[in-house]
Amino acid sequence: METDDELILRCGANPEAFRELVRRYQGKIYGFLVNMAGHNAVDDLFQEMWLRVFKTGARYEPRGKASSWLFQIARNVAINHLTRHGRVAGQVTEEIPEVVSDPAPEPPETMETGELKTRVKTALAKLPFDQREVFLLREMGGLSFKDIAEELDIPLGTALSRMNYALKKLRTLLGSEYA
């Protein structure tokens, strides 16, 4: 099976490689974009993000994790969108993306899972933007704290501090039963 690095490098020329790459990361990237920018524009952002990957994949230099590179692109797309719409000023705006629960009725056996999902997403939406950003890049994107600090152009201690505040707030919001 091809590695993520190989898929990224070949995705510009090989439709199958691109399809496989999207298939592997679509859930994480889509979730990341939903939690960063909300549901309204996520479809456009998702397409734009993958188009950027498609265009720049041939120039990718596999120095770190492939997922880090992908999530950096996803973050840039989301930040650009939020900046265009005046929702990010210095990346400290506490704009909360709307949480849309699944409109389809859930069967009883998955009710608890659905409820947990909604509560987690609501709690994430209540985080300040900068804390949510660090949390998502770390836990969804798998970026190391060092990479996050470099990407956001902040000291490592600041990244760790934002993560710590995010975890404390999530623990409070989700309550002991989910923590």
Binding site: P15, D43, F46, F54, L170, Y178
Partner: protein, 222 residues
């Protein structure tokens, strides 16, 4: 919990601590309840993030692939795919036009040597042989070797795109020049034309044939 413990905890949970520092932190964990709770939360965070993931709809997945494919097509053929076809058609039409209207070869000064007719003043004139071979030829044929007068006929080749040349009201078809000359030679001579230099003059570059009125008497160099 001190701030440096918080940072260490997060780095430990992320697996970004060196083995030495990780072992040191594990020793601390055994005695610090607050750090243990913090570590549990940090480890739980990955589960929360997993829960927050969402799958895009199949339509969106297809749209992403379609958009990338469209971009690939644009990259190869430009923004308008038909433009490539138009360019190819135009190039093919130009190639055909050039093939049809191609310029003639530029051979302005190509020289052609014609076999010369024997000058009348040399007819039946036998010269003494100069060597054994000539003596043998003379004995066999009764004539000394043909006197070959060097002769050069030069054509002024037509300009590009002119494929039919008129010389003294005689249409010269589009055939090779030497072949054309050979074909025309008897009729030209019958009509009184003579290749230039026939009178033994030094060859010079001019037109291939001269008019009868322009001919000089053989041997008359003045």
């Amino acid at each position: 919990m001190p701030d440096n413990h918080l940072e260490t905890l997060l780095l430990y949970a992320a697996g970004e601590l060196t083995p030495g520092k990780a072992a040191e932190f594990e020793t601390h964990l055994a005695s610090c309840e607050e750090c243990r709770i913090g570590l549990q939360t940090a480890q739980k965070a990955h589960e929360w993030a997993k829960i927050a993931e969402e799958e895009p709809s199949p339509e969106l997945f297809a749209a992403v692939l379609s958009r990338s494919e469209k971009h690939r097509t644009r990259t190869i053929f430009g923004k308008n795919p038909f433009r490539w076809g138009i360019a190819m058609t135009t190039a093919a039409a130009l190639a055909v036009a050039l093939l049809i209207l191609r310029p003639a070869r530029q051979e302005s000064y190509r020289e052609t040597t014609l076999p010369m007719p024997r000058p009348p003043e040399l007819e039946n004139k036998v010269q003494p042989p100069e060597n054994a071979q000539e003596t043998e030829n003379l004995n066999r044929t009764g004539r000394k070797n043909e006197i070959q007068i060097p002769h050069v006929v030069t054509f002024e080749y037509p300009r590009p795109f002119r494929h039919v040349r008129r010389t003294d009201s005689i249409d010269i078809p589009r055939i090779s020049r030497s072949y054309r000359l050979n074909l025309m030679r008897p009729s030209l001579q019958r009509a009184g034309f003579q290749p230039e230099g026939i009178a033994g003059k030094q060859p010079f570059k001019s037109r291939a044939f001269i008019r009868p009125s322009d001919q000089k008497a053989p041997g008359n160099d003045s």
